[in-house]
Amino acid sequence: MIKTLAAHIKEYKTASIITPVFMVLEVVFETLIPFLMASIIDDGVEAGDMHHIYVVGAFMIGAALCGLFCGVMGGKYGARASTGFARNLRQAMFDNIQTFSFASLDKFSTAGLVTRLTTDVTNMQMAYQMMLRMCFRAPVSMICAMAMAFMINAKLASVYLAAVVLLGIVLAFIIRGAMKYFQEAFPKYDELNASVQENVSAIRVVKAYVREDYETGKLKKASQGIYDIFLKAEKQVVLNMPVMQFTVYSCILLISWLGAKQIVQNTLTTGELMSLLTYCMNILMSLMMLSMIFVMMSMSIASARRICEVLEEKSDLTNPENPLYEVPDGGITFEHVRFSYQKESDEAVLHDINLQIMPGETIGIIGGTGSAKTSLVNLISRLYDVTQGAVLVGGHDVREYDLETLRNQVAVVLQKNVLFSGTILENLRWGNADAGEEECRRVCRLACADEFIEKMPEGYHTYIEQGGSNVSGGQKQRLCIARALLKKPKVLILDDSTSAVDTATDARIRKAFAQEIPDTTKLIIAQRISSVQNADRIIVMDDGRISGFGTHEELLAGNEIYREVYESQTSGGGDFDEKAGEA
């Protein structure tokens, strides 16, 4: 894990090394100051030597300035190293996600990826900065102060050593106890947030059933639970404070008592006693700092792990060695295709699929939810790789093509489609960056999107909000179809892409396809029989198998599932049904 992360420090290696060096130097100067201080009091003030005070004072100012310089530099490079590291991590993750196969995307989920790229990276940035600036500083500060203390008076300094060991043990116990509760608390916290989230998205249900008070009661119970567990955790943490204070105070008093004895015995000067007391704070504060760093670091380990998962994920869909850059035609062949989403799983989604589709054919695909319609078409543009068998486009196995070439020639309009923030034109040009406005208008006419675009005040320059929230579902689907058409693909796949478009418009789009792009192979997944019944041939999917493949009439005569679906959608009327049947 550390190796994976460390690989992304890259150009910030120097800054990462310089930072702790400066921080350590800063500590050295800081430790020097009380030492010089003692000298001022002992050799300057007590000896009445004003000159000595000036000289040592000048040294002290010098040390402070050096300390300042080191502190500022440490801050500067610490900021650079940590923000730079965060930048590299973010970029590396984003870059790697771009190479993800659909299988990897499914594995991580959108929300999971967003959290990793945002919150987790921020956590890492903070932890890294903390590590560079404090991880070295705190122990070095402690060691320096301890060394100085031992130099002044080893006997008294051993009091500190004892205190450090004792405090260290107690702190470790407290932290362990607190961490246990915190680990219990965080899932509860997530649960609470999940329940709020649930309420925000299901507010219509809550209000429709007049369950506002009921929900409030539920939440109150959950938030009381959090209150209880956090109270337990914090109760442990709060012990830190008195234990720490108690140790510091004990040390001060002990040193005062023992120091006074030594002064009387002439083995210690008053100046030295003062310095020892100053180091007392330094040593114990450093220890406190270390315990804090420990807590912070252990909390960021989870983030680090999650980031590594993304960085280490490798796409199993790779370009072949000598890829083909030309797709001859839009013919599609499935040869004994078996497919499952998990490699190891025995549960296949598609079983022994054999298909032969001619270039330019229009194929309808119909079947119940979960019958693997989407899985079937996803194999054509190699969004997933088959588990067994082969999928051929234009006579070649899809695994022989350059991925980009294949996906440009096999355009898919996904079921869950997305528009991006930007103008309509910008969105369309995803299909072809060089397309002129005239070309964009043409494909919009094909997809019946021109009618509503032209009604918009800014027409093709209308700005689409994030997620396309300012266009309706049907409009969004039509824009997505237009975007795919702009690729001029040899194969066009519509995965339930007109479900929000009314039947009449749906029919017009299909008619336009038949007239304007007759050479393109068209695969249309739909729920509505009317969307597919005019296709050249129709595939009926059932539980991962092809239950029927033929024309509307053939299927109506020979396929029970098809007939059932057909009847469920058209039955109930008198004359009308016969008319629909003839069409």
Binding site: I40, A64, A194, L253, L383, L414
Partner: protein, 634 residues
């Protein structure tokens, strides 16, 4: 999607309008439940600070009053020193106890305030009109619960006591310093002034970069969110290189501003600390000179004490300046929390209520027991006479105009009449206003003009809770709650027995699949029922509506995302549910609405055709086009 499109909420990192006011309000909020705790904490902090100060004072007397005399005495007597140390130790112990006590109390205050705030925020949120949820991004609402309360926790538990602690330390140390030596105090003050000026300069500079960093962070996060959502589309369009380049530009900009902002924040600490050291040295030199001259009565011991004070004076100032950032952030969070708490709740001045009735001698009599017969209790405002109108499910729209905003009407002059037990269907293309009509019956939104009557009563006069209780609703997006299947169905009627739940499930044709679930009715659903299929979730939603047993049902695209074979099963359950109730059905699939008593065809907010299926086909109008898919080009 129901209702109008979402609008993005307030951008983050906006300036706080009035931090003082927000702070005062926050304090008031905390004090509402924890005033004695706060007072006690203040007293305890005072004690712990004083204990600390007396310890520092002791170091003065340690040299002057105990060690020096012993040095000159013939025989050192450690008795007085031992006594003094015992006394100081006593005070220290009190200090430690006080410190522990206030820290312990503050946990209760912090966690308790956060709990109350979550509860208040949530119960207030539940009263907000649907419009609020339709016009605010859900992510922004959530972030009020997560990020904003988090910053508050930091502020209440750490920053507030810290600042108070520092304040008391500063005051007490200042007094001690004045007592020890006025000239040296002046020297210290000058140095403090320098520190403050420098801090302010750096803080001003850093806050500029911080705002820029927040802005850039917002952009990066926004881009990440958008791209991760559309990642599959990116792949399908081979747009990877472009998005990497776009992201790199945003990421680099973020780095630039984050680097500077963090640098400046990092610098504040060392600068203040070293200035503190310089202050220490200057005091030592001036103090040394004064002590040697012997003019001001400054002794060596006093100088030593003073220098300790000098150090403990710099410390808290440093701390306060470091807390500054987190206080600013907490204020921004508090402002957003209070803003949500200030959102106007749904108004409800209805006074007609829903009651159980019994028939006695041909008259309806109100009764507290559940009779299964419901009536509207209508108390006339003029003469306080009370009428009972039996709930039958008679809904009338009369010239209804409605718009989500006043300037853009969505429905125009809608007239409709639904008799008890009738099935009324709405069809039309997306955006025609079908969902909007159902949003008006249960008063999720209020109409601009016209009247809606329910059993002859204007819906505005009916108490909202009672109105909604009499309406069952099944939506396109089935929202289930975390909990067991049993609990989810019971949501429709909280006091339903297990047998009633099973009966409702049977009615909705859900019993079959529930029984096959690993734990049957006790199977826990999580994450909006993600472990069930669309159709199964839909069936549960129908069972939930069935158990509520309302006289009027609204089915909004309840089966649109189910394939037609599954739909048959669902439809069967729905038909049973609809029997004997007034039902409003919205559907895409015309097969679902065919057997309705009356079908309304909506276009652009107007009812353009109405009639039964056969009548409408005869007319060969819009319905005919929609049904046959043979649109006449227009």
């Amino acid at each position: 999607m129901p209702g109008p499109g979402m609008r993005r909420g307030m951008p983050k990192g906006k300036r706080i309008e009035n931090p003082g006011k927000v702070f005062k309000r926050l304090m008031k909020y905390v004090a509402k439940n924890y005033a004695p705790h706060l007072v006690l904490t203040a007293v305890l902090i005072l004690i712990s600070v004083l204990a600390n100060v007396q310890g520092t004072l002791f170091i003065q007397s340690l040299i002057d009053d105990y060690i020096e005399p012993m040095l000159v005495a013939d025989k050192a007597d450690f008795g007085p020193l031992a006594g003094a140390i015992a006394r100081v130790a006593g005070f220290y112990l009190i200090g430690v106890a006080a410190a522990y006590a206030w820290n312990r109390i503050m946990i209760n205050v912090t966690q308790g305030t956060l709990r109350n705030m979550r509860n208040d925020l949530f119960s207030h949120m539940e009263t907000l009109p649907i419009k609020y949820f339709d016009t605010h991004a859900h992510g922004d609402i959530m972030s009020t619960y997560t990020n904003d309360t988090d910053t508050l926790r930091q502020m209440i538990s750490q920053s507030m006591p810290q600042v108070f602690n520092s304040f008391i330390t500063i005051v007490s140390v200042f007094i001690s310093m004045v007592v020890l030596s006025i000239p040296l105090t002046l020297v210290t003050l000058v140095m403090i002034a320098v520190m403050l000026v420098v801090t302010k300069k750096v803080a001003g500079l850093s806050s500029r970069y911080f705002l820029e960093q927040q802005k850039n962070l917002g952009k990066v996060n926004g881009y990440i969110e958008e791209m991760m959502n559309g990642q599959k589309v990116v792949k399908v369009f081979c747009h990877e290189k472009e998005s990497i380049e776009e992201f790199r530009a945003l990421n680099d900009a973020l780095y630039e501003s984050a680097d500077k902002a963090n640098y400046l924040v990092n610098v504040v600490g060392p600068v203040n600390m070293q200035l503190g050291n310089v202050s220490y040295v200057v005091c030592a030199i001036v103090g040394g000179a004064l002590a040697l001259s012997g003019m001001t009565g400054l002794t060596l011991g006093k100088l030593a004490s003073f220098l300790t004070f000098n150090k403990s004076f710099n410390g808290p100032i440093n701390q306060v300046s470091q807390q500054f950032n987190s206080i600013v952030m907490a204020m921004a969070g508090a402002e957003r929390i209070f803003k949500m708490m200030d959102e106007a709740p749904e108004v409800d001045d209805g006074y007609v209520t829903l009651v159980n009735v019994r028939e006695e001698a041909g008259k309806l009599v109100e009764t507290p027991e559940r009779t299964g017969r419901w009536a509207w209790r209508h108390e006339h405002q003029a003469d306080h006479s009370v009428d009972y109108v039996e709930v039958r499910g008679d809904v009338v729209f009369d010239g209804v105009d409605f718009g989500y905003n006043d300037d853009k009407m969505v429905l125009h002059d809608v007239k409709l009449y639904a008799q008890p037990g009738q099935k009324i269907a709405f069809v039309g293309s997306t955006g025609a206003g079908k969902t909007t009509i159902t949003n008006l019956i249960n008063r999720f939104y209020d109409i601009q003009d016209g009247k809606i009557r329910y059993d002859g009563i204007n819906v505005n006069k009916i108490k909202k809770a009672d109105l909604r209780r009499s309406l069952g609703i099944v939506l396109q997006d089935t929202h289930l709650f975390t909990g067991t299947v049993m609990e989810n169905i019971r949501y429709g009627k909280l006091d339903a027995t297990d047998e009633e739940v099973v009966a409702a499930a049977k009615l909705a044709n859900a019993h079959g699949f529930i029984k096959r679930l690993p734990e049957g009715y006790d199977t826990v659903l999580s994450g909006d029922g993600a472990n069930l299929s669309q159709g199964q979730r839909q069936l549960l939603a129908i069972a939930r509506a069935a158990i509520a047993d309302p006289p009027v049902l609204i089915l909004d695209e309840a089966t649109s995302s189910i394939d037609t074979r599954t739909e048959r099963i669902v439809q069967d359950g729905m038909d049973k549910l609809m029997a004997g109730r007034t039902t409003f059905v919205i559907a895409h699939r015309l097969s679902t609405v065919k057997n309705s008593d009356c079908i309304m065809v909506l276009e652009q907010g107007r009812i353009i055709e109405r009639g039964t299926h056969d009548q409408l086909l005869e007319e060969k109008g819009k319905y005919y086009q929609l049904y046959t898919g043979n649109a006449i080009a227009n």
